[in-house]
Amino acid sequence: MATLTIRDVRKSFGATEVLKGIDLEAEDGEFIALVGPSGCGKSTLLAMIAGLETVTSGEIHIGGRMVNSVAPKDRDIAMVFQSYALYPTMTVRENITFGMESRGVPKPEQDAAVERVAAFLQIEPLLKRKPGQLSGGQRQRVAMGRALVRDPSLFLFDEPLSNLDAKLRVDMRTEIKKMHHQVCKTTIYVTHDQVEAMTLASRIAVMHKGEVQQFDQPKNVYARPANLFVAGFMGSPSMNFISADVVAAPDGRSAIRFPMGEGADAVLALHGDYAGLKPGGKVVFGVRPEHIFRDDPDLSARKPGIATLDAPVEVVEPTGAETIAILRFGAQEIVGRFDPDTAPGMGETVTLGIDMAHACLFDPTTERLI
């Protein structure tokens, strides 16, 4: 049983406040991703959970025990570092047993633990090698082995995949997910890669400027981002933002209006409950690229809340699985994601369907989701 509770944790380096009151909690066995751009404080927060940084104020509880002034070694945690931090002068086996030796675990027990972990991670042939003789992926495995062998109540990962090449990163991501599924230990995973956060986490904490912007399940963070920052950070290509006026649609529903260039305006009826919106107000209209598509009467009939408009296509970027098109909405460039078979050509003007059921509206002053 290991839960993690973080209550109003703050951290200052001199006069700079790096963390401004963080509240998080992880259930037993949960996989929490801390994601955000560099400098958002996520690594500092992880170091504080590990006990490598002091807590300026607030409380950190691991398994119900307050650990603010507990030494790292007594917190029952294991950590995997971005640089792997393998001890260069020791063999892989010595790297894995170093922690047990420090704690005075008897030799037969150590050997059994090494066998178990080496078999689990398939690194038996590497046990006699030094870290310098391993490839990046092998080092990553050994670093995970060193963490696993501890059988801790809490796993901490600090951007563990950032030093790997793209293909290996995807493989190791899967491995980490499998590993977590098998050991089912509470895990805190720091990354700047929103795809890693989406694929691995049971809940994501999006951090920015020392604050948690949103803490929720991946699908909610993606579909209903709490504010403009989260909406722009999660997803690639990122969400399109259009400043729009609120108007009343002919059928009495609320609608948004924004210029399309040459004096023409687009009016899109909103789908959903926007009772709070008053005509004449201003909003930021957010729509993800995959919710912009070539209009199709069949689809419009099946799915409610599809608005249509015509827009010229400026650039088309095929990636194989999908085709990204840059569309011109007046002064703004809007990114749409198309099926390669029905993708528009460059210079073509295409009738687009916009899935208003998935649209997000933000308040332009508070930047929060409406």
Partner: protein, 301 residues
């Protein structure tokens, strides 16, 4: 076709001229290098030869001449029986004084430097940078400045005119350098290693012994060579704080050269100089390649 042949001939001529030029420049470069090497080595050669010549021969043919006799008398004289400061037992005792001074002082100052460097790079505390800067001042402080304070301290500690006193002086005087060397080397060791070890349950000393020291041989060799040669060759403290039989070999050498009572015994002096120079030479001979490697070693991957 004909044109091509004449072209080839032209190129061949060019190529052979270039080769001659290249050869000539090599000959000039190596010739110059040989001349300068000879100039540099000549004094050593003269001393080595004189140590094997007999005194009458030196008197007859002058200091710089090829040996006509070959004997080891000067060496055994210098080692065993030459009269210095009123005692006729050669430089043997001074040689061992130097050894018993240099070895402990080197080991202790290197270990202290390593621990200081470890603390100042990996366990920083409020004011550690200021402390490091203060220690660095010691690097630039001339030894003469410390003569009077040291005389007082050694007197008060009852270590005047003893090898132990000189060990103390050299350990303290050497800490600035050893700390500087080790600290700058340890800074390049990734902090993540220390963090990982702390989570693994290792404490201050275990991290030092198991992680830092195994990574340190290059810098430790540099520090040991530096300290050994520096302390062995040091003259000022030896001559000021000790006298007679307690003097290190550098001070004894000076006494030997300044011995005005009888004829200048150039053969014995030469042998004495070589005896005094041998240990640092050996150290550098065996550790020299590590010295260069350690000084140029960058980050540890």
């Amino acid at each position: 076709m004909a044109e091509a042949i004449s072209d080839n001939a032209k190129w061949d001529a060019e190529a052979s001229r270039a080769r001659t030029r290249h050869l000539l420049s090599r000959v000039i470069i190596y010739g110059l290098l040989l001349v300068f090497a000879a100039i540099y080595l000549l004094p050593l050669a003269v001393v080595v030869m004189n140590s094997f010549r007999s005194l009458p021969e030196i008197a007859e043919h002058g200091l710089i001449a090829f040996p006509r006799s070959f004997e080891f008398d000067a060496w055994s004289d210098a080692w065993n029986s030459f009269c210095l400061n009123g005692a006729c037992e050669g430089m043997k005792r001074n040689f061992f004084n130097s050894l018993w001074m240099t070895i402990p002082a080197t080991i202790i100052s290197t270990m202290l430097g390593a621990i200081n460097g470890y603390v100042l790079s990996k366990w920083r505390f409020r004011g550690s940078e200021v402390l490091f800067t203060c220690m660095l001042l010691g690097v630039f402080m001339p030894g003469q400045v410390a003569l009077m304070p040291w005389a007082t301290i050694l007197g008060a500690a009852g270590l005047s005119n003893s090898t132990a006193g000189l060990v103390l002086v050299h350990v303290i005087q050497g800490i600035s350098f050893t700390t500087l060397f080790c600290r700058n080397y340890f800074v390049a060791i990734p902090d993540d290693l220390i963090k990982a070890a702390r989570i693994d349950g290792a404490g201050f000393w275990r991290i030092f012994w198991k992680i830092i020291l195994p990574l340190s041989p290059p810098i430790l060799i540099v520090t040991v060579i530096w300290q050994f040669t520096g302390i062995w060759n040091e003259f000022l403290f030896g001559v000021v704080f000790t006298s007679g039989r307690e003097q290190p070999i550098t001070a004894a050498l000076f006494a030997l050269a300044g011995n005005q009572t009888n004829v200048r015994e150039y053969d014995v002096m030469s042998a004495g100089v070589l005896i005094a120079a041998l240990p640092p030479l050996l150290i550098y001979f065996f550790g020299g390649k590590y010295f260069v490697r350690g000084l140029t070693a960058g980050a540890i991957k």
